[in-house]
Amino acid sequence: MLKTFADLNFPGRLIAVEGLDGSGKSTQIYLLKRWLENQGLKVYFSEWNSSELVKAATSKGKKRELLSPTTFSLIHATDFADRYERHLVPLLRAGYLVLCDRYVFTAYARDVVRGCPPEWVREIYSFAALPDFTFFFKSNLEVSLQRILDGRPQLKYFEAGMDLRLSTDPYESFRIFQGRILEQYLAMSNEFNFLVIDANQPVEAQQNVVRELITNSVDLAQFKREENYIKPQARPPRKDRWKEKQPFEDQSVL
């Protein structure tokens, strides 16, 4: 069975957030990060699909719609492995609190919805230990969709699940796709001890639950930086990714 970093006696702890697009999980992990940093703790943040080297290939694949469910899965696994081996593991060895915006569960859910065999996907990610805490932001499907779709963003081909040919309308496709991903998440919630947060509550109420849970389960004093460390400055919060998206390269799919 897969083990957590605590089970493996790592001095660091890994905290992951999972949830649908629009569930507010990125806001929550950002607020958690700010809170931990302000206490002068050793914190590292890593985001899904952000490894520099792999990114070039991924974005080419996505732009030109070159990806199949299999290569989509493998290229994201490559990205994850790069971050895992190069950043997550060494930092956890060095006693960091590592925060991950999405972890292997995103792949378990998405790739399976795309038709990859679940056992195949899970075995590929079996090199990774489990997070010590996985917060799952459980939002009402309609609320999440509304949050994303309110701005009438240009949905990207793969994000809308257009490759699955669920619908010729990207918005409709996105709805069906997200609904299936939610089903997958809920089905694995118990197996992986998801800490389920009601994402329909106000931002502050959710953050309260998250901070309380971490305070009660982690001896934060152990993660203190040395005295002379200069705290990072507050940065503007992450822009809403959906609003920066470019339209489809190929307008014919619309």
Binding site: A57, S68, I75, A81, D82, W120, E123, F127
Partner: protein
């Protein structure tokens, strides 16, 4: 059925009959690729494996000449040639910045892309696909670097089982002579320099190729490829390959 047209000529010219390859049931090694109709893959997949300098490309070129002269359409594939990631993979290798799992998954992505976009379409069109290396080289390289065999077998469960696999077996000492005769140099990766086996290329090459051969032998018990003595003359070797491929075309192999 249409009767064969009779051509009146002063002298009757006998054209040799072109063998129409016998169909055989096709399978993947493992979970496979979702959505593939295996019965439609009519062509044959022939793999030539071996180290650099084992004569792979020479043998493949001769096989292509022979197959085309015998009336078969051919396509050649090799590693690191995918549209999706070959460039990025090359860059990663040059910089030697990726860890093992990451590089392994990157190669698997390249392989999967070629599997889906070159190998399978060619087989569907009834071509003879000649692969200059296949999953075995990728697996052997990873095994030598300490990757888990079960993990690798699952990962490459997406590969089609070829109709014939030849391993051109040449002793490391002879490989060295051939590589020098050709390039006056040994390749960094083919010498396993990333493993720190020896301070100089020469010793490292010998050690690494010895380890690779062991890994191939280990894989042979599962994947059962034909070991070909690569020390003989080019034509002797080619004659052996041809006779085995003839069996494949006639459906009388195994």
């Amino acid at each position: 059925m249409e009767r064969e047209a009779t051509i009146r000529r002063p002298k009757r010219v006998v054209t040799p009959r072109i063998v129409v390859p016998k169909k055989r049931p096709r399978r993947f090694y493992g979970h496979g690729i979702p959505g593939v109709e295996l019965q439609k893959l009519a062509g044959k997949l022939i793999v030539v494996e071996g180290a650099d300098g084992s004569g792979r490309s020479t043998q493949i070129a001769k096989l292509v000449d022979w197959l085309e002269a015998s009336g078969h359409a051919t396509v050649q594939v090799g590693l690191k040639r995918s549209t999706l990631v070959s460039e990025e993979l090359e860059k990663a290798q040059q910089g030697n910045i990726l860890s093992h799992t990451t590089l392994s998954l990157f190669y698997a992505t390249d392989f999967a892309d070629q599997m889906e976009n070159i190998i399978m379409p060619a087989l569907r069109a009834g071509f003879m696909v000649l692969a200059d290396r296949y999953i075995y080289t990728l697996m052997a390289r990873d095994l030598v670097r300490g990757m888990d065999e079960t993990w690798l077998k699952n990962l490459y469960g997406i590969a089609l089982i070829p109709d014939a696999v030849f391993y051109l077996n040449v002793a490391p000492e002879e490989l060295i002579q051939r590589n020098f005769a050709k390039n006056n140099a040994l390749d960094y990766w083919e010498s396993g320099m990333d493993l720190g086996l020896a301070p100089d290329l020469f010793d490292s090459f010998l050690k690494y190729q010895g380890m690779m051969l062991e890994a191939f032998k280990r894989l042979q018990s599962t994947y059962r490829f034909t070991m070909v003595d690569g020390h003989r003359g080019v034509d002797d070797i080619n004659a052996e390959l041809r006779s085995q491929i003839e069996h494949v075309l006639e459906g009388s192999n195994e």
